[in-house]
Each structure stands twice: as C-alpha cells, then as structure tokens.
C-alpha cells in the first residue's frame, strides 16, 4: 500500500490527529470547539466537491445545514419521531429538495448561479424564522438528545468521537468520489465544459449529482449539530453562515479535501483564540484572511504543499 496517497496517508494522518487531539483538550469548552470544527469540516468537505472540484458556487449551503437541523428537531419534538429515524428522513428529504431546486438553478453559471443559490438560502432562512409554530421562530427551539436502540448519545466526549468518525467517513467518501469516473467528470467540466461535453459528459446531470451530495453532507452535519447542542436557532441557516462556509473552503484551499478540513478548523478556531483581543477581534480576523489570500493565493493547504514540493526538489 502506498502511504503517500490522500486515501491512505492522508486519512491515516487525519485519524491520528483525531485520536491524539483529546490529550491536548483541557476541558469541555475545548471539546465543544473541536466538535464544532468537525461539524463545519463535514459541511466544507461536501461543499468543496461542489465549489473546488466541480467549479460551481453555492451561497446557500447554510440553508441545507439549517434544514437538516430543523428537520430533525421538528420531527423529534413535534411528531415524536425517534432521533435516528428523524435524522435519516431529514437527510433524504434535503437530498430530494436539492434535486428539485438544483435542476433549474444549476443551468445558471458564475455570478448568476451565486445569486440563485443566495436566493435559495435566504428563502430557507425566512421560512425558518416565520414558521414559528414549527420552528420556534427567532427564539429557536430545543432538540432532544440523540439516541439509537436505547443508547443515548450525551456529553462532549461521546460526541467528539462520533463527530470524528463521521468526519473521517465524509473525507473517505469525498476522496473516493474525486478519484472515480464520476469525480473525473466533475473536475473535467470545471476544466472545460465544452471539452467535457464532447467527451460524453452530461454536465447538467453531473452538476446536479454533486449539488445533491454536498447538500446531504450539510444536512447530516446540521442534524448532528442540533442533537449535540440541544438547541437550534435560525442563525445556523442564515446567509452569514453560508458565507462563512464558502470562506472556509476558499481559505483552506479549493479542490483540496484536507484543505477544506484545515479551512474549517482554522476559521472556527481563530475567533476563539482572538477573543483575548476584545474589540480588535474582527479587525485581526479580517487581516489574517487578507494576508492568507495575498500570500497563499491557492488557499492554505495547496500553497503550502506546493512550497514543500519545490523545497524537496
């Protein structure tokens, strides 16, 4: 087995980090940060398939995250569904919605696609806020703990391991997809849509497929976030959260699965570390973002790997 490929060495490294990280986590607060990083990373790994590999933008993925969270919460609290069934049904529902919504809007390109996905995200966000009978409106709603077969998943440590395992699975799936006929089709239409077309690739179908997959990733992470924190507010479905997710993907490095994980980790961690700066927090955060894009234009991980490869030669 070749340990230098992403599917072996990369996953092994990520697993090692997840296994060893608890040694460095002093208390529950830092466990919570780690779980938040994991959940954001799951969304970003999926979103990166759409943005980084297929070259299609979405400014509405927080909508899918929010729907995953609220779907699971509503089915559990209002209809008494068991959490596992609620999470599964919600995931399927969000996938179906992405299929229906994606068909017309993925015909659009570039800025127009950005506008359409933005509109989609805003509609979801408005529905979540105004349907207060179901969602609790702007105040949010509480969510029961996740349980399956009589076992309840509770506590920061248990959630840490579950989130870590799901993240590893998400990364494995993404790496498989990229290196498959379907994944090559996605990367090809990013490289040249005309070239992909004459090679027999149905661009509309390929885009729709990856849009649905990325929506499902976001929905699963959303459902997990809801059950973990026990409370969900519309902020998670907001436009601002969508932008945050795209920023993580671009910051970490487009078309790099581990870059997406790194981006999610850095941009989730940074605000926590910068709180010591009080009112200057956002200024420094912005400065770090600008500096990264100026000095590492391809995003953190691809630019660093390139620099390392050059040094090795």
């Amino acid at each position: 087995m070749d340990w230098r490929t992403p599917r072996t060495g990369g996953i092994a490294s990520l697993a090692a980090v997840i296994l060893l990280l608890p040694l460095a986590l002093p208390n529950n607060y830092w466990y919570e940060v780690a779980i938040l990083i994991g959940l954001n990373a799951i969304v970003c790994v999926g979103l990166n398939l759409l943005i980084g590999y297929a070259g299609q933008i979405s400014l509405g993925h927080a909508g899918f995250f929010g729907l995953g969270a609220y779907g699971s919460a509503i089915l559990c609290t209002r209809y008494g569904w068991p959490p596992a069934a609620a999470l599964a049904a919600t995931t399927a529902g969000v996938g179906l919605l992405a299929l229906v919504v994606g068909r017309p809007i993925l015909r659009l390109k570039g800025h127009y696609l950005a506008m359409a996905t933005l509109g989609m995200g805003i509609i979801i966000s408005i529905v979540v806020v105004t349907e207060d009978q179901l969602t609790g409106g702007p105040d949010g709603m509480s969510v029961p703990a996740f349980s399956v077969l009589g076992l309840t998943l509770a506590g920061e440590r248990a959630w840490y391991w579950v989130t870590g395992a799901v993240l590893l699975a998400a990364v494995w799936i993404a790496l498989n997809l990229i290196d498959s006929p379907a994944g090559r089709a996605l990367r090809a239409l990013h490289g040249s849509e005309v070239g992909a077309g004459v090679s027999g690739i149905d661009a509309a179908r390929a885009k729709l497929g990856v849009f649905v997959i990325s929506a499902v990733f976001a929905s699963v992470a959303g459902g997990m976030a809801a059950h973990y924190s026990g409370f969900i507010t519309p902020a998670k479905a907001s436009f601002f959260h969508s932008i945050e997710l795209v920023t993580m993907v671009v910051f970490g490095g487009m078309a790099s699965t581990f870059g997406a994980v790194l981006g999610a980790a850095t941009l989730t961690l940074l605000p926590q570390l910068l709180t010591v700066l009080k009112e200057y927090e956002m200024v420094v955060f912005g400065a770090v973002m600008i500096a990264t894009m100026v000095f590492l234009p391809r995003g953190c991980l691809p630019s660093l790997m390139q620099a390392l490869a050059r040094k090795a030669r």
Binding site: P181, V198, S199
Partner: protein, 257 residues
C-alpha cells in the same frame, strides 16, 4: 458510393445577418480521411461546431449513421460515436495528462454515484484497466514520456496530441480534428499526418479541418472546399487542386486591365 457515415443536407447557420455556413450539403464515406478546407473565415470551424452539437443549426439536417442527429447536444453525439479536438485547446488543465485521456473513456465506464463514493472492488479493477488503456493511448499518439505529467506541464504540440488521445479514448467511429497541425513545426506536422493515416487504417473515419495544404493534400481521400460559408466544390486532392474556382478563392482573380 457506399452508405454515408455522415450526411449533411442544406445546413446553415447565421450569426446576426452573416451566414457563417450557407446551405452546405455533402456525404462522408466511412473509413476515409475527409478534409474541409477553405480560406480564412470560410466557415470551417463553424461547420465543425454544427456537426458536433456545439452550435445548433439555423436550418438543415445532419444525419449520422442513418439517424437524424440535428440539434443534439455534444454529449449525446459523443454517445453515438463522435469525438473531436479543438483548434483553441479544450484541455482539462486542472488534471493530470493521463486523467485527461481517462475522461475520454467516460462513456465506456458506466459507474454511478454510489460506487464512486464507496469504491467497491469492481470499481477499483475498472479504474486500473482504465488507467492502463489511457496510458496505452498516450503511447499510441506519441506521448509516452508524459504519462505521469500534469496537463499544464505539457508543451503545445503535446497538448494537441493529448486532445487526440482523449478523443480516441471513447473509441469513436467519427473523429473530427480542428486544425491539429496549427502552431506545430514541420516535423511535428509530419507526425500528425502519420497519426491520421494510422487512425484511418484502424477503421476510424476522420474529418480534418486544416490550413496546412501539404498535410491535407497528402492525407485526404476526399476534400470539401468552403468559401464564404458555401460549398465551392468537393472531390479528391487532384480534382480540388485543379479546380479553377478553388484557385480563385485562394489566390483571387486576375484583374482585367
């Protein structure tokens, strides 16, 4: 004449008020090297784009292997056995050279989304075969040295061959080459000429759009001449070379004193 593989009837395409292709009709026989020539702006590339579904025609019909394929999108035509290359390269620069050729096999590796994500043993075996097949094709077009290279590291002449390898990977019955020798030095151009001959011998029908007359005259079984979007004449290299209308189109008429 045997049954035509490609049959074009009164094909036209207007851009604004300009007829880029105007009432063009011809039949192309299977297994032959067919060239489309004409002065700059004659409508050659537009015609190729109409044949491969990049543009939809304004009027007229295209029949491929006896079936009407007018207005079908490129990926549907590819599924019927058409492949092409581009004058202004359409290489996937975000991928390796080998992966570019593997994309050309897309229609022959019917894997859905689920196997793509879960990577079962069957897919792994298929991928290995695909890789070997693509590497073999790269060697066939003379790119053996670039099998492990990234596409954006290839020189211009190699990129032209890479597009040919990608097109061949779909095992096409009709291969359309848009100016494969443009920008190549004479040695490279001779290499392309040999490659076209080998393709025709292997049973692929070739449509060649090319400015390099030495290449066209040497390799073509049949030549269609366009001028101002219209078909001027067609026939073998000898017929076309001696047709006064062709000479006039390329060199202009002697001005009467």
């Amino acid at each position: 004449m045997k049954a035509a593989l490609l049959s074009v009837t009164a094909l036209s395409r207007a851009f604004g008020g300009v007829m880029a292709v105007d009432q063009v009709s011809f039949d192309l026989e299977a297994g032959k090297v067919n060239s489309i020539i004409g002065p700059n702006g004659a409508g050659k590339t537009t015609l190729l784009n109409l044949l491969t579904g990049i543009y939809a025609p304004s009027t007229g019909q295209v029949a491929f292997d006896g079936a009407d394929v007018t207005g079908l999108p490129p990926h549907r035509l590819a599924a019927r056995g058409m492949a092409r290359t581009f004058q202004n390269l359409q290489v996937f620069f975000n991928m390796s050279a080998l992966e570019n050729v593997m994309v050309g096999r897309h229609l022959r590796e019917r894997a859905g989304w689920l196997p793509a994500m879960l990577r079962p043993a069957g897919l792994v075996a298929g991928e290995r075969a695909s890789r070997e097949d693509a590497a073999e094709l790269m060697r066939f077009v003379g790119l053996g040295d670039f099998v492990d290279a990234q596409a954006d590291a290839l020189p211009y002449g190699a990129l032209k061959r890479l597009e040919i390898a990608r097109a061949l990977a779909s095992k096409p019955r009709l291969l359309l080459l848009d100016e494969p020798a443009a920008g190549l030095n004479p040695t490279e151009a001779r290499g392309i000429s040999g490659l076209i001959r080998r393709l025709a011998e292997s049973g692929v029908t070739v449509v060649l759009v090319e400015h390099n007359m030495r290449l066209v005259m040497g390799v073509s079984d049949h030549i269609v001449v366009l001028d101002y979007g219209r078909k001027l004449c067609e026939g073998t290299a000898d017929v076309v070379r001696n047709d006064p209308r062709v000479i006039q189109a390329y060199l202009g008429t002697a001005v009467a004193a």
